[in-house]
């Protein structure tokens, strides 16, 4: 082989390797951001704007939303025709049409964010000044937002399923960030206000890192792309590091999650992100073969038959937990001898923090399942149920 051919091949390989996780998209104008884990999100960076396409998680042949994030407001005012596929600025931003994009001027300065999970992320990105309104304030545990609503800096928009139309009009946000639900019928009259609706469908990702990767999208919305990319890199690297450490463990403790309520025991199915997290934590999840991606309700006796083999039992519970009371409520549980670790969801920020920081939960779980690895967790969502509580 001639030397210049070898040099050419080597140079080509070098250029490919230096691509930084980006590839030119089909029309050759934009760079597709390589999302390794998120399945429902595509981000293409063009010189003057970013195009984001969300796949409909419930019908993957359809699009849930398509957004053009305009980085430069002046450019948008001058010539919006630069943006491909943007036939109109659709007021119905929940439109399933793949050919209609919503123009989103970024960074957002006055957003209405519907869930505390995303508010927690924005706080981490130091973008909470850009939050103008929130929903379901009664269930916010985040101190900053509690104070901001109490002082009137942030508006409480009411129930996330049916926010106050008048308060939204008064707030005049630059975007609404609700969580979509299958066949929910959208946000009704709110959709006709002409305010862009950005569906936060991250919770429908079926892997912990898949959901966490949406940080990169939210970062771009609030002008914090670099910080968001950096946070995700840290999340990913720590997660993979922990996962590799858990793989070294010589034992695989049998894991039982959750507890029954009113005769039903809802367990994560094999396709859920919780099941993957348990696997990555080096656990032998007792119901890993349960078909389904969400929570699967089983009868208590069906679960107990297998649960007697469990070594570790993790329970998320709102308020104090007491073993004697658990046994009195459901006597079948008295036969389960596993060590119980429980998380008081009324006192910890497990729901707010772990969706975008699965590595924290993984670290906590590995600490519980494999104390021999010596991984001490800073994040102690789960605590052992004390002897007197048993």
């Amino acid at each position: 082989m001639k030397p210049y051919i070898i040099i050419y091949i080597l140079l080509s390989l070098l250029l490919l390797a230096c691509g930084g996780g980006r590839t030119a998209n089909a029309d050759g104008q934009g760079d597709t951001l390589m999302l390794q884990y998120a399945r429902n999100l595509t981000i293409v960076d063009f010189p003057d704007y970013t195009e984001v396409t969300m796949r409909n998680p419930w019908d993957t042949t359809k699009v849930l939303g398509k957004y053009c994030l305009i980085k430069n407001e002046e450019l948008r005012d001058k010539n919006s025709s630069l943006i491909p596929h943007t036939s109109s600025i659709s007021p119905h931003t929940s439109s399933i049409s793949p050919h209609t994009s919503s123009l989103i001027p970024i960074p957002l300065h006055n957003a209405a964010v519907f869930s505390s999970v995303h508010c927690a992320l924005l706080h981490e990105l130091a973008a909470d000044e850009a939050v103008g309104g929130i929903c379901d304030f009664e269930f916010f545990n985040l101190p900053y937002y509690k104070q901001a609503v109490n002082t009137g800096r942030i508006v409480n928009l009411g129930n996330s399923m049916q926010p106050s139309l008048e308060k939204i009009i008064d707030l005049n946000p630059d975007a609404l960030l609700p969580s979509p639900f299958e066949n929910s019928g959208g946000l009704g009259r709110v959709e006709r206000l002409g305010i862009p609706i950005i569906w936060c469908a991250d919770y429908m990702e079926n892997t912990p890192l898949g959901r966490a990767e949406w940080i990169r999208f939210y970062g771009r919305l609030f002008g914090r792309a670099e910080q968001a990319d950096s946070i995700f890199r840290c999340v990913e690297s720590r997660y993979q590091e922990l996962r590799s450490a858990a793989l070294q463990a010589k034992t695989k403790p049998k894991l039982l999650p959750e507890m029954p309520w009113s005769g039903q025991w809802t367990l994560p199915g094999s396709g859920s992100s919780s099941t993957l997290l348990y696997k990555d934590a080096g656990a032998d999840y007792l119901f890993a073969d349960l078909e389904g991606a969400g929570g699967i309700p089983l009868s208590t006796e069906k679960v107990v038959d297998k649960a007697v083999e469990a070594d570790v039992w993790i329970i998320k519970h709102h308020g104090p937990l007491n073993r004697a009371q658990m046994n009195a409520d459901t006597p079948l549980l008295s036969n389960i001898k596993a060590r119980i670790w429980w998380c008081d969801t009324s006192k910890t920020l497990i729901y707010e923090e772990t969706p975008f920081h699965p590595e924290r939960l993984l670290e906590n779980l590995i600490g519980i399942l494999h104390p021999e690895l010596g991984i001490s967790s800073k994040y102690e969502y789960f605590m052992p149920l004390k002897t007197d509580e048993r």
């Binding site: 379901d136 005769g263 069906k302 104090p320």
Partner: protein
């Protein structure tokens, strides 16, 4: 066939269904092994089976049996007292009081409450809240019944109470967490598995007390069939009778709803099934028949709830209307024809 034989047949059916409820569950345990467990033996390799049969299936069977009897009896008492074939335990709003109590603790307080320095949670708190809610509505109805002379007015009051409690529950639901709403919905589907062996004596004592008191009402109820004036001429004190009736139906509805959640249609349909079986309206035979039919129906529903073989269960409140609705439809059509 004489009523006595029909009652015996119903009793035999109840025994058979009770046995079937112990043998059959959502987990496949061979009949021989269940028998071995019942005889005090152990099953090697399956340590959980013993506790599933003894502490799971037997209390569940007894709960279903008593709940069916109690709700059927409530329906019979109310249908006779109000001379309304569509009256049932829910018509007076007592079960909606239980619903409200549970909604308050699950949706407003998040499932835990501190009462007198003691923190309650889990199913115990739900039972206490449902009982308090149901008994509060019962006390209100008893107070109103001494003020309202007309039974129809009392009936309307019960319906209004249901609406008011329903709207409060909706309001609580509207502003509750996803978890809270889920817990409340699951509780609202009814379940005979909630009464564990520790709470079974309390449940049985309250149910038997209510059923015993119902037996004491047989004579006045028969007299009521002939009309209020005739009953008064026979020495029945209508006002006192009404108070007693509220007490019995209130106690039975509060107990069953508190321990098992709201179970629809059994109270409404069972008295009609009993009447169809016996062809009589006299309570001396109709009441025991109602208790037996109620027990049998609840045991059948409990068996049907374990039909899916993948380990899941069908909620009781999904099954009861499927059986109860045709009966109610039959009654309505028969009334229309007559």
């Amino acid at each position: 066939m004489k009523d006595k034989y029909k009652l015996k047949l119903l009793a035999v059916a109840m025994v058979l269904l009770s046995v079937a409820n112990v043998l059959w569950g959502s987990l496949d345990i061979p009949v021989g092994e269940v028998w071995r467990i019942l005889c005090g033996g152990e099953v090697e390799g399956h340590p959980a089976w013993r506790i599933i049969v003894l502490q799971g299936r037997i209390p569940q069977m007894l709960t279903a049996l008593l709940t069916g009897s109690a709700l059927g009896t409530c329906g019979l008492l109310l249908q006779t007292a109000f001379r309304n074939p569509l009256a049932g335990p829910s018509i007076l709003g007592i079960d909606s009081g239980a619903n409200l109590g549970v909604a308050l603790v699950l949706l407003l307080l998040g499932g835990t409450a501190t009462i007198g320095g003691m923190t309650l949670g889990g199913h115990l708190l739900v039972v206490v809240a449902a009982m308090v809610g149901a008994l509060a509505i019962m006390a209100l109805l008893m107070l109103l019944s001494s003020l309202l002379r007309s039974q129809v007015m009392l009936l309307i009051t019960g319906v209004i109470i249901s609406y008011v409690t329903g709207s409060i529950i909706q309001l609580l639901n509207y502003s509750a967490t996803e978890q809270g709403v889920h817990s409340f919905v699951i509780w609202g589907m009814g379940n005979f598995a909630s009464v564990g062996i520790e709470r079974l004596p309390v449940f049985c004592a309250l149910s038997f007390a209510g059923l015993f008191l119902a037996f004491l009402l047989i004579k006045p109820l028969d007299a009521l069939l002939l009309g209020d004036h005739y009953a008064e001429n026979l020495g029945i004190r209508i006002g006192r009778m009404r108070q007693m009736l509220l007490l019995v139906t209130g106690l039975l509805t509060a107990t069953t709803t508190a321990f098992c959640g709201p179970i629809s249609f059994i109270g409404l349909a069972v008295p009609h099934l009993a009447r169809l079986t016996l062809g009589t309206s006299y309570h001396r035979t109709l009441m025991p028949a109602t208790m037996l039919v109620g027990a049998n129906l609840a045991l059948v529903c409990n068996l049907l709830s374990t039909l899916p073989r993948d380990g899941s269960i069908i909620p009781i409140s999904v099954i009861t209307p499927l059986i109860g609705a045709p009966v109610v439809l039959h009654v309505i059509l028969r009334q229309r024809a007559s």
